[in-house]
Symmetry: D2
Subunit: 339 residues, 4 copies
Amino acid sequence: MANSLPVLTFNPSADDYVWTFGGAPPLARVKSGDTLELFTEDCFAGRVRSEKDLVTEVCEFPFLNPQTGPFYVEGAEPGDTLAVHFVSIEPARDWAASTTVPLFGALTSTHTTATLQPPLPERVWIWQLDRERRTCLFRAHDSDTEVELPMDPMHGTVGVAPANLEVRSALVPDAHGGNMDTPEMRAGVTCYLGVNVAGALFSLGDGHARQGEGETCGVAVETAMNTVITIELVKGVPTPWPRLESDTHIMTAGSARPLEDAFRIAQVDLVQWVARDYGLSELDAYQLVTQGVESPLANVCDTNYTSVAKMRKAFLPSGTSAYGVHETLRERAAAYLAG
Amino acid sequence: MANSLPVLTFNPSADDYVWTFGGAPPLARVKSGDTLELFTEDCFAGRVRSEKDLVTEVCEFPFLNPQTGPFYVEGAEPGDTLAVHFVSIEPARDWAASTTVPLFGALTSTHTTATLQPPLPERVWIWQLDRERRTCLFRAHDSDTEVELPMDPMHGTVGVAPANLEVRSALVPDAHGGNMDTPEMRAGVTCYLGVNVAGALFSLGDGHARQGEGETCGVAVETAMNTVITIELVKGVPTPWPRLESDTHIMTAGSARPLEDAFRIAQVDLVQWVARDYGLSELDAYQLVTQGVESPLANVCDTNYTSVAKMRKAFLPSGTSAYGVHETLRERAAAYLAG
Amino acid sequence: MANSLPVLTFNPSADDYVWTFGGAPPLARVKSGDTLELFTEDCFAGRVRSEKDLVTEVCEFPFLNPQTGPFYVEGAEPGDTLAVHFVSIEPARDWAASTTVPLFGALTSTHTTATLQPPLPERVWIWQLDRERRTCLFRAHDSDTEVELPMDPMHGTVGVAPANLEVRSALVPDAHGGNMDTPEMRAGVTCYLGVNVAGALFSLGDGHARQGEGETCGVAVETAMNTVITIELVKGVPTPWPRLESDTHIMTAGSARPLEDAFRIAQVDLVQWVARDYGLSELDAYQLVTQGVESPLANVCDTNYTSVAKMRKAFLPSGTSAYGVHETLRERAAAYLAG
Amino acid sequence: MANSLPVLTFNPSADDYVWTFGGAPPLARVKSGDTLELFTEDCFAGRVRSEKDLVTEVCEFPFLNPQTGPFYVEGAEPGDTLAVHFVSIEPARDWAASTTVPLFGALTSTHTTATLQPPLPERVWIWQLDRERRTCLFRAHDSDTEVELPMDPMHGTVGVAPANLEVRSALVPDAHGGNMDTPEMRAGVTCYLGVNVAGALFSLGDGHARQGEGETCGVAVETAMNTVITIELVKGVPTPWPRLESDTHIMTAGSARPLEDAFRIAQVDLVQWVARDYGLSELDAYQLVTQGVESPLANVCDTNYTSVAKMRKAFLPSGTSAYGVHETLRERAAAYLAG
């Protein structure tokens, strides 16, 4: 049965990557129902390979966070929603890199939170990935300490072309998705993105073998990924800000500064989603969400900060989400994986 | 064996409550090693009892968030740390109240985030608590919907007298603790608070049968509590911001505005805690925390917002926290509960 | 003598306007030393003409804030600075419009500072401009009150194509300039913009007959303008954020959220400008700027907020700004005006 | 005639100073109509006297920002307004001090905007005050540069006991006034403060020979002052946030974080003041303030940031401010000065 699935494979060459959402011609045209096997390069464009490869020396701005795509989805128009379901996200290497970057990250002044202080030292950590045991090995620089953390692969970046005629760097998260850097973007999850331009023009990249919530130093356990997604176009249903759905939760992601605005966006969107699709008034939904919501931070380091609001489905009245496609996508994913 | 524990019981009368951290004479003197059985009234001082009891009509500002205490801890001095371990937190009633409050909460303009818009409608929800089944029952106002959420009792407020000669309202969270409103403050957890004045003068209140992360509408499932704590004084160890420890995690809580500053405070404190007590350099700790941290929001509605940073102990090198008292407190709690 | 000045005239037709910085082909090629006579349409694209013309009914998003340009400056390359001197800014009509716009402005919740409150009422005010007497007449809606304010014409928007491969809406202020909305952008002032792409691709628009500091309701006294600028390319001198120079002051403009970051950017840039061009160490410049700076807000309503830092030249040690072109531009302007 | 004015003189001894608003017994009881001649010590409690006197070595936290007062105003009750008119503010010495303070100021990380970076170097600048020529002389540390700035004496701190049973450090600005650090607090200005407790308990301190807007490095040109104020109690008129009035302007001062909230508070208060006292609807006042307001920053370094909103009286419809006391106070001041 699985062999009847339309599966497309994309292994971009170095020249194929794009560095923005919007403003680039499509890599390919795809259809609702398609399953895509993709390779994504790491956020450094693969240039940080050892502890000697400092970002400021080996990387070339603005050529960071390479995106695989964009894909033109046949029939997608403004006002529709694109559902991107993550079938699997698997590290393509047995190592990953993380770094400090001067004047970037949450616990340093930056070009925006500007001070007169010098930057923190620049440093690279190479993590060993044990893909069998599903672990990431941290080796300290300044001592012999080693710690093993569970692997939990995810994509930091997934998005569509933005609205308002804009072209945004792939380092930016906003209403079009982009560099949201939430660990919730893992296999088994469906991401809903509002379509702003004909064809949606979605792309993804920035694989992380794992990431803490907030991406505190600005850089996760960065690695190339072999990722499988399957997509579905939901016609006539707009989505104001990116939303996610897992088997257990519905989620929203707001991106803005200051961080409380990212929180407000995500929580308002969750309240309104619950009100609209689960039969509550807005004030009743406000009360229910207040008592039931989980609010893990995604990133507090990018050009906009991202805050996630999660509501356990078991905490909601029975209702039908306007999307109604997650189960179908799960089945299609299962068929692919069984295939 | 339990009967050998020094156990003190406090059931405040209406006049016994205090409304500030600092500025009030001690309710009692206690000693390191004492176990305290306490009653705490809800944040409304018990005045919201039905859906007709609007906060602006039945409550009297600033007499909100009554505190049980303060307790003078013998021998506590600035530079010490007070460890407050929550043995049990049990709702004292079979119902709880939540409300909207005009110009208060995260999804409305407020007296601080001031706009020219009128406030949202004022509304009360009474939740039924099933203490056997450990559930909280939500009944919608504007429809027949009912939803049951798990009970997860916690204290919104626990703190000591502040530094700098200040007296702060019990509605404020800051470096002295106070109204942090984190669901992590549940039974089984030890809270560490830096001592600012002789005797520490700690108090607690604001019990929640449960609360979502961020306390979005500003008010949790508020109820009176029968709470048991056991305390320990850690001499000569300062604590800059409140910290928590469970069997599985160490945690920090930063309170500030904007929300990214609360995040920064909590993450810096966690990085420095990990560096100091687990044998890593600060930059190595920065890297490890970045990849391992959980960052759930506590409140985004109070006078300061509170962000929590949690690190799983299993993700840390073996080390000895300077406090070294959580296990002892757990044992003492077990003895009490077995008692 | 004035007739020897190279003067170019641009009266865009409706199709000539652009709505972004970057992403549009040049309207014309110009040279360093050229003087340009321009017509700019108002931010509503001329569609709000009476108190009945509500923005949500007569305007079409994202076709707001039309830009006259972009102009390709021969020889301009990344790392250069473009100096745009405002020779004159004169209202092209004897009326101007201001409005509230739902969920836009500083004293309302917005799509970013999201709440559950309904928007403020939508309203239009038509201001009469007396170009002889240089006044703007305010007529209240809800009473017979009339107040006359001095005319003080300025451009809300002036910028170049952004860096990082981006295209930004003309409503956005950032490092490339854009919609900074500072009343300091008046005749007699030189604006310095760092060049990010070949040809700089600068444009301007959004004329205001006058504007308060902060543009509180989000909309100034908006009108079409007949504006004369003269430009100069400063080769090999980069400019990190927009800077301005008048006969009496040097100024910087930072754009970011939260507002303190806009302040930090502007003040750091001013400190570093003073240090570099006026012979002080950075710490000495920090001290001198602290005591001498004026810090008027520009806008607290746009996608980024803008904060200006102004230092009176009389408060600075004698020094030579790296630009060294303001006096030349003033002389050229005087020649034009005398012509 | 002047000798008929009730004039009281206060030269506090070292033990008389207080370090908080609220929580201290009155220094004296005064009456509406009284004129007070005061000495105020500088923010360092006079301990920084040369470039070798580093704050962290010579000052003792929290004994900073000594207040002269508090004064108990006979008959003042919650709901009233206290008008404090500055008759004169004159430096009591011919020198002043400014400093950097580690992890304090706008262009450095702080204990709240916490980073892992080391603090900026600690430095002291001694400014010479020429009280005849009304100038302040800056001498650079790292070069021979000297610059003379005009003297413009002001008080950084003036306030009353706060509401909500609180006691706040004299370093804090909030609704009770306090450490607002606005250069607008100069001679000739009336400051209106809402009374929160019986007697108001106002105090003042923190004289600055001059200060830039925003107090960028956190410390102004700090000096002791001989200051004369005259006070008036306005019964039954509440004032939500501090307001100021000069001969030419009415002004509001909002204090909060993030800075946009301080801006919102000040602008909402100005809009509502204009609406109430000058006969405009709130939306008309919103429009008029938007086009006429000046928005200079006060401080972007204290525990709350302070933003000022100023409206030129000539830009307002003729109206009568509810206070109606500024002219009387100006006359009384003139009589005193003539005396």
